[in-house]
Amino acid sequence: MWLKFSVIVLGMWAVGAAAWGIVPWFEIQRWAVGEQRTFQNVMASALRSIQAGNSQAAWTLCSATAAYGFFHALGPGHGKVLIGGASLASGATLIRLSTITFLSSLAQAATAIILVGGFYFILQIGSADLTDLTETWLAPASYLTIAAIGAVLIFRGARSWYQMSQVKQATHGCCGHAHGPSVNDVATLTSTRDAVALIASIAIRPCTGALFVLVISARFDAFAVGCLAVVTMGLGTAIFNQMVATSGVAARWLIGLGARNHKGMQAISATLHLTVGFMIIALSVGMLLP
């Protein structure tokens, strides 16, 4: 049992290390940051043009925020870790994962709109306090929720391994017909409850970029345009996360090729749960530390 576990873990690490070595991460990162900077400036000039009364600039703003959302998502962030991890460990189909990805980005945009709409307009709280609120409370809340999801994954993976070992012992006995846990026992994200938890953990914490677009557009009496721009920003982010989810599902499929039978598949799924769970916890705790 432990041998099998170690082999699967080592195999996954080898694939991961190879990916790390081949892809020029720093170059990609630098390019993404440069693009983000460009679109950030386009956003600024579009906002000024809207203030000056040019309503056409709303389209420029929305295209710029969509591009900004995409490139901003390329940086290491909370949404990706979770979406990537979930697509790797879960038993969800690509269509289901895509839906969850889009919903989580849109929900994140909605949080920004509700925050600015509620606090800025109704309670008259300034944008500095708003970003403080986001960073001091919402960001840690989001990381904690994400860490909790990691813990659930670990629990499910460990339970599955335990059940498999029980089954093995049982068949070593006499009865011959084992009541093995079905693969569904360890498949995550196939229930609505799981999906909602995942979407919520991402949506709790809005992007500061989105908050600023909303606050500035509110000051320029164009809050509605700001809302639209933040939704397109969310769509841009969703498109990137979509790529992450697709790679996750593809990787899961590749790893699954190594499984000879149903039991092998279950062992792999349980191991993926454990590995991804630990990764998610490590990353989210890392983000929480000062």
Binding site: P24, W25, F26, E27, Q29, R30, V33, Q36, R37, Q40, N41, M43, A44, S45, L47, R48, H72, G75, P76, G77, G126, S127, A128, T131, D132, T134, E135, T136, A139, P140, T208, G209, F212, V215, I216, R219, M287, P290
Partner: protein, 207 residues
Amino acid sequence: MLSAMCLGGVTKAHPHVFVDARTGFVFGSDRQLEAIKIAWLYDEFTTLVLFETLELDLDQDGQLNDSDRIKILEGETNWPQNYKGDIYLEVLGQDYPLGRPKAASVKLDANQIEVTFDLPLSKPTEVDSSPIFLRLYDPFFYFAYTIVSVEASPDLPEDCEAQIVHFDPTAAEIVLQDKLAALGREDRPEIENVGRLFSDEVQLTCG
């Protein structure tokens, strides 16, 4: 920007603020390095954010007036105790202590706010052929700095040379990998030293 964004500085690895920095060196009559000159030019979006968060330009004439300037400089140069301005000076391989901003000014140029100030060294120091490094970076990468120029100040001694070395991702990656490979089991990565690998730097040598 500080008061507006940095206090909630737990955000990591997502640059939101882009700064083009101009740098310079101030020498005393005894050829000792006394201070560093810094100018931070904020990107257009950050400038809009500053206008909003600090409630600048309330008369909406598109210009900064005296009260606007006071508000900006308060946030930009009255640093909290634990903030060092994302400015790091390395002398003989050691982090060299710096003072607090002096002679600060601010202007608005082509929709971008620029803050300028001098940062004195805690104690003037000799510069010889072993290079002194000036680096600007935010360990959390919320602020992304690019050093765009090092200005030749009139008091720079003739035999001194200052040049910008831009961040090279490939080299940084190799150094980082070597560092990680060199770590023993009980060692912990020295996070504070990793940030500088990803920054532009100015090298100053004399003689």
